[in-house]
């Protein structure tokens, strides 16, 4: 997993829960990297899992919710790092439609070894879109947060519902309907 996810995650934890919590989850999970992450590096996904579960325990919040919140936060981080990607779109539905064919393609050009989820568009209209998230990591709640923030960025909002096509969350169908 790319370092930027880790660094942003720890930033979020520091902001929301304080430096102490950060320190604690690092020490307690005893991750191999020692909590030393740089955004340009690459680290084991399992470390993220460990940090998340430690945090979940510490702050008494389900991992899923934590991921959702992280998703909301991550949108801005990614936008700051690559503003040209967001600028290319004038419409949230268009952006979501282009994740697979354009955005992730662009990401792969910059980070060839990035392991990204795949999105399949089932149907799309001017104000709605149905897509299927697939990833071995099962971070659909992260995707959820990112999707929500997308609409917010364009000064809108949407009703997002999801359905687990596989119980472990590696395949999830999202139904997104933009609010008028």
């Amino acid at each position: 997993m790319k370092g930027i996810i880790f660094t942003e995650f720890l930033e979020l934890v520091e902001t929301k829960f304080g430096l102490e919590v950060v320190d604690a989850i690092i020490e307690e999970s005893a991750v191999e990297s020692g909590g030393i992450y740089t955004s340009v590096g690459t680290y084991e996904f399992s470390e993220m899992v460990q940090l998340l579960s430690r945090l979940s325990e510490k702050v008494n919040t389900p991992v899923g919710d934590l991921l959702y919140v992280f998703g909301l936060y991550l949108f801005n981080s990614l936008g700051k790092a690559h503003p040209e990607v967001i600028r290319a779109y004038s419409d949230p539905i268009e952006l979501l439609d282009s994740i697979e064919d354009h955005i992730h393609v662009h990401v792969k050009k910059l980070y060839p070894d990035a392991e990204l989820p795949t999105f399949k568009i089932l149907n799309k209209s001017d104000h709605s879109i149905t897509m299927v998230y697939s990833s071995s990591r099962g971070l659909y709640r992260l995707a959820h947060g990112l999707i929500h923030k997308t609409f917010e960025h364009f000064n809108g909002s949407a009703t997002i519902t999801y359905e687990l096509l596989k119980p472990d969350g590696t395949e999830v169908k999202f139904d997104i309907i933009q609010d008028e």
């Binding site: 660094t7 430096l19 030393i36 740089t38």
Partner: protein
Amino acid sequence: MSEADVQLLRKALERQKKARFQAERILEEKSKQLYDVSRHLHSVNDRLEYMLNEKASELDGVFINIIDPYVIMDLEFNVINMNASAKEFLGFDHMVTPINLSELVHKDYVEYTAKSVASLFEVGTLKNYRAKIRVGDGTEKIVEVNGSLIYDKERNPIAAQGIIRDITREAETRELLAQQRKELQIIVENSPLGIVLTDQGMIIKTNPRFGQMLGYGAGELIGRHVKEISAPGDINNSINLLEKMNSGNIDNFTIIKKYLRKDGSELLTKTSVSAFKNRKGEVEYQVAMVEDITEQRNLELQKEKLLGELEARNEGLKEYAHIVSHDLKSPLRSISALATWLGEDYKDVLNEDGLNNLQMMQEKIEAMDTLIDGILKYSSIDLASLENSKIDLNEIVNDIREIIYVPEHVRIVILNPLPEIRADRTRIHQLFQNIVSNAVNYIEVEEGLVRISSSESPSHWHFSIEDNGIGIPAQYHDKIFKVFQSLDNQKHSSGLGLSIVKKIVDLYEGEIQLESEVGKGTAFNFSIKKI
């Protein structure tokens, strides 16, 4: 700040430092990678540039050195590039004036061109495109174009190239050939001679006349061997000559050949065979021209028969004349002898009248004798008996002066030396003697003059024998050359003399005419063909 906070901050700081080191190392690593990639790219670039230059130079070389006009155009037919040869041929320079090739195409070929272009785009190549175009100076030319599309990296056509060949001359030649072939066809089809083409004796082609001559329909003879249509026994004649021709010793030969008609009858022909050689000089096939000579042969046979009959008849007549004259002369001699004896034995008894009568009898007998001689001479003159040799006419005239009786008051004069001619001595002697003696005998003036002169034309000798004798009345001018017409019964003429003259002149393909005025004189003008 509490100790715990400080500790926390110290730890966090420591992690940050380490994270920064990591980042720096990753950066260095990335830098090095970038440098390596850049260097690799540079060398690849250099190589590419070098290859490109090479290829461009190669292409330039090809472009310049192609002798044929070579043109590159875009997909709308605008010329992008043309070599020197193309500029010369088309009469345009694309760098001076933009050219669109579609403007050059002759209007009759516009549709064909559109189809060809469509095909080019479909197949990618264009072969044997032939059309009429108008070049820079306005002349029309016929061209052949072979070309292909030029593609970009994604196999999209971006241009087309082609080589142009001027085939105007070729096209003209082809048209001329076609014309000539048609003309030849007409000649062959309509020839009154039969024409046959054979290969090793196998008939390849015949014209309608040949088929007609042998009674076969069109095409019936093709594939058959000449042997099949030759009369049996006739084939061997040609085999020898054919071999000579096939081996190149002779180019052609003509033989009399008998063909076999479809109905079994024979056709007599004069056949001329020529060899048709290919470019290597080998005999490819034989052409025979066949002329039906049956009619001709019949005529020749007839002529021969007639000639034979004629000769026989002639011989017969000559013999007859000989016999008759002999038979006729014999009693004459007897009568003459008897008359003489009568005169001698009874000259005492007979009176002047009686003796006169006997004398007159002798004269008549002599006249008849002369006449018989004359007839014999006349009948013996014919073409076959002419023995031509070189004779000096001056000599002949001198001989005649000696032989005939020339009265004292008459002179025979040769005005200009007579030529030496080729003719039968006896006949010419006869000819001159007859005229001269006529001239001499009929002169009554005191100074008689017989003048002989000659002249020459390209084909004939011309002679003139003039006298100042009594002349011949105009009404006799026609009859005079006819047999037995004598104008004077007293003298020694048989009446045949001038007929003989005319016969000889005719034999020598000459002409004779006379001019005469009664009391003034006579001139005989005649000619003899030079041989």
